[in-house]
Amino acid sequence: MATSSTKSGASFAESGADLELTGISKRFPGFTAIDSLDLQIPAGSFFALLGPSGCGKTTTLRLVAGLEEPTAGRILIGGKDVTDTKPFQRPVNTVFQSYALFPHMTILENVAFGLRRRRIRDAVAKAHEALALVELDHVSSRRPAQLSGGQQQRVALARAIVNRPALLLLDEPLGALDLKLRRQMQLELKAIQTEVGLTFLHVTHDQEEAMTMADTVAVMNKGRIEQMGAPEELYELPRTAFVANFLGQSNLFTGEVVAATADAITVDVGGVPVVVPRARSQRHSGEVAIGVRPEKVTLLTEAPLPQAGRNVFGPGRVTDVSFSGVSTQYLVEVPGAGELVVFAQNMVFGPVVQVGAEVWLSWNADHGFGLDDDPGTVPRFVPDASTESIAIQRRIALEEELEQA
């Protein structure tokens, strides 16, 4: 049997199926949520869609679940076109952000709901099994309101995976949990995914969650995928300023390429030559935007000797020091280059330098990266990504209101 088992046949998917979105667009009145999106998720993978609120990631999920209809494009699950099918006809289950447990049913009835609708035999036994998997079989006769948030989340997960969907959709399932519980659930979710071998599509705005759990992360912005890849790859080699700043923090600079060899390009940043490996740069001539992660930068209290393969800025002045336990974040104002962020591990007690100290900054040239953005539009520093999302959310709310009036 192929992996493309459907809901009409009362069978379980034997393994995860791959998901393919081709040319998906979703337009709401006066607002485009998704703009010609192409996406392929291989069977059995743990895929995360990461982005700020309003970037279209939840809409993408709802399109796959069948809760919304795309304006254009096709959705294929396991090679089978499901674009025109109803949610209950798709081999897909969802863990909702609000969990959406049925309050008038017991936990067991909640978990058995999908099995009973498909007339699968031994629904009760299978539901108990799924509850045992999330270690909640002992509360099977309770009602959802009698469980804690973390328990409800696990019930929602059990209710979805008991159906062995070819594809499991997770809509910010850990958003309502506190930090400690969230970490624990991240690990459990990952373990369950490995155990049951389903394809997981996880939507989140939490970059740490996406990076710890997913094999592949797609960073979404304004209805488009900015960059997709393994978490390390996205972090170490961001291709756009949005990715560079949404996943962690970055020091970004713009400047003219003044020299180029087969291996590296040299960019003039306010008079200081900065070397970036050619292979790690998207653009190799003209005005370019480049960057380096704050933890790759070393803070020096004396001018270092010029050394091949290291970029040096300085002298600069420390404008802010914030101690956060394992590391200290320094803000350093460098004439010509602007303000840089440096993360330094706390190898000694407390910060190494104080506000006002004169310092030099240095990093291995291999750690820099060159972006694909037009330098004119690259924000000099960590852009307030949330401002934009707030604006979009406001607009959606306003439209809703206007429509109701």
Partner: protein, 265 residues
Amino acid sequence: MRRRTKGLGLWIYTFIALAFLLIPIVYTFVFSFNDSGKLNIAWQGFTLEKWATVCTVQGLCEAFGNSILVGLTSTVLATALGTLIAIALVRYRFKARSAISLLLFLPMATPEVVLGAGLAAQFLTVGVEKGLGTIILAHTMFCISFVVVTVKARVASLDPALEEAGRDLYGSPGQVFWRITFPLLVPGIAAAALLSFALSFDDFIITNFNSGAVDTFPKFIYIAAARGIPAQVNVIASAVFLLAIVLVVVAQVSRAARAKRSSAS
């Protein structure tokens, strides 16, 4: 000292307010045991005779039966239609949605005399003979508004994700409605049905315009008032009141028992 007088004032005020509310009911109940003749105004002595001979008063039990029939029928119709309207108004976006919402308020805001007279005129124009059918139509009409308002609040408080989860978990639209939406709306629907029945059972003005020769309980009392209301009317009123009290007590007790059970488990 001052505290005490203040407390006393509150007690007196409470007593007066309750007495004001309850005296008519107490009067009705007590005078159902009055050994009266044709007029049931002055206390003549205690008797159970009126309770035993309720239906001997001509037309009384028939009118009461009509009221029950009209109440039940129009409640079922109004609740079914009103619930569907409420769901549509909350869940779906369509043209003139807000206009419909507003228009549904009109029957509640319009004076009953106007509604009753207007409806009577329409029945006359169309040539429908007045009777039980026209009463039921009239009652269904004004009850729908109340049902919509009551159920709408309940639908609005329902997380749409619950229905989406039902669809996602292989529920067909029918299954999602009957297994998820409907059970969760039941408290609102029940409240709407009780309200509908109470409104219908009570109604005199609209009924009077649209009933033709048929009598309902309120209409019977109104007509009887001209020649003196028999004590049997008090009997029926008291019985209805007692029944309502019993229902409320049963509901409260079973709810308390359920709450106790679920917190104990």
